[in-house]
């Protein structure tokens, strides 16, 4: 199957910083895949993701979307951002309006859609994320899980084919995390590609069909979860652990 998004040998250094954040990251995402991106803090994950929708432009290396090399002119970027949506880690950084419905309508209106079409998309996204009863509520009165789902709806209203979620499940309780994963499941069933950046080894293990491990600005492994978690050297190298393999009782690791 043709990959939907390819990152080819990306290098990136933040202006004014000494060490590069990306050192030759290469990754290929198959269409319709459930992808978990595992990385420890400070491994370059938050630098990698904005490269996927052209927010950051690599110093060297190529990003390809649907096989075509990314152009960074205004029109191409607009088209790319419609098709690749990113949900950011903290919903409070993303929700700019005190009205939930207005916030969700922002993306579709930026695409130049009319009021009627936008209302339809807002409603559809709200139903997908199960927040229709929150549409009239003020954003600041919502709880964490509700804000996360509103932020997700704001991205889904643009009808993206790739949805990238940066640690959106991290601060959620297990029940709410399940709800969000159920939304991702529906997205994949519709043929969309979902990338979840997470520290949650369980999500990687049980949910993903492609696990990507990142370390020090590079992709060190990308494979099915069985292969990834069977590779003890790799697990030890990145400091992660197979959720099944507990240390023996009373013994040392």
């Amino acid at each position: 199957m043709m990959p939907i998004l390819e990152l080819d040998n990306l290098h990136y250094r933040y202006p004014g910083h000494g060490a590069p954040a990306l050192r030759g990251a290469t990754l290929s995402l198959p269409t319709g895949a459930r992808v978990a991106l595992l990385a420890r803090n400070g491994c370059g994950k938050s630098t990698l993701l904005p490269h996927c929708n052209g927010i950051l432009r690599p110093d060297s290396g190529i990003v390809r979307f649907e096989g075509r090399r990314l152009a960074y002119d205004r029109r191409s970027l607009r088209e790319l951002r419609r098709r690749v949506g990113i949900v950011f880690q903290n919903p409070d950084d993303q929700l700019f309006s005190a009205s939930v419905a207005q916030d969700i309508s922002f993306g579709p209106l930026n695409l130049g859609l009319g009021e009627r079409e936008t209302r339809r998309l807002v409603q559809a996204a709200a139903e997908m994320c199960e927040i229709t009863e929150l549409l009239e509520r003020p954003t600041h009165a919502l709880g964490g899980g509700q804000k996360t789902r509103v932020a997700l709806a704001g991205v889904l209203a643009m009808d993206p084919v790739v949805v990238i979620a940066d640690e959106v499940t991290t601060s959620l309780d297990p029940w709410m995390r399940r709800q969000v994963l159920a939304i991702f499941q529906r997205l994949v069933a519709e043929g969309r590609t979902v990338v979840v950046a997470t520290h949650d080894v369980e999500i990687a293990h049980y949910w993903a069909d492609l696990v990507v491990v990142m370390n020090e600005g590079r992709i060190v492994a990308a494979d099915g979860s069985d292969c990834i978690f069977a590779d003890e050297a790799l697990m030890a190298f990145v400091g992660l652990r197979d959720p099944w393999r507990l240390p023996p009782v009373g013994g040392r690791e």
Partner: protein, 256 residues
Amino acid sequence: MYIIDRYAYANRIRTVGPGRKCGLALLVLLICLLLDRPAVGLVATGWMWGLATLWAGLPARVFGRVLLAEGVFLALAVLGVAVGLGLAPQPGASWSWNVGPIWVGSSQASVETALRLVTRALGGAAAMNLLALTTPLVNLVDLLRRLRAPVLLIDLMTVMYRFVFTILGSLSRMYTAQDSRLGYVSLRRGLASAGLLGSRLFIDAYQRSQRLQTALESRGYAGDLRVLPIRYRHDNRFYWLSMGVVASLLLARVAL
């Protein structure tokens, strides 16, 4: 602020168009200013209080409390009008005392002026309270957008209103964190902690704005925050009530 915001969402006339509520409030304010009589101001205050409790379903106590706060301000402000200070007794004063060389006194005319000022201002304030306590700010911004106010102004109001709450949230979390490490154990430590908190909050707000920018650009931000207009319900009773208010104010002017 939290109280006003809470009632702005939790009242029965939230979904009435902000244009109409604004129109009524401004009309009442204007009438109070033009028909300069205590009776007009008092009738207006009564109407607004009544509409807020009986129509919008706000607790009478809440409206009263907001009005009281404004009343205290007004009373202090007009004290200087009602009571005159001077080095000699005021001519025509109905009473005057002297404290050392200073004479304190007031005349019937000055008391009447003060009364007129207070009632006039109170009527106007009550009208604004009704608007503020029944209309979420989002709806007012929506009204400005419909009136074609400058986009920059509208976007600023949108973002500021949203982030007042998140930054207040940061503030209280940071304060709690400092307090739990005894940051406010003494006045001296408290001042140092408050300074640190303030500078940290600035940095926090700046970094937040950077992240917001990134998130907005990801959703195709092109320089203005386009959002859907809000839909409101039509309520013909509103017109009848408004006409009743205006008629009774005019009647109060003529009769009293």
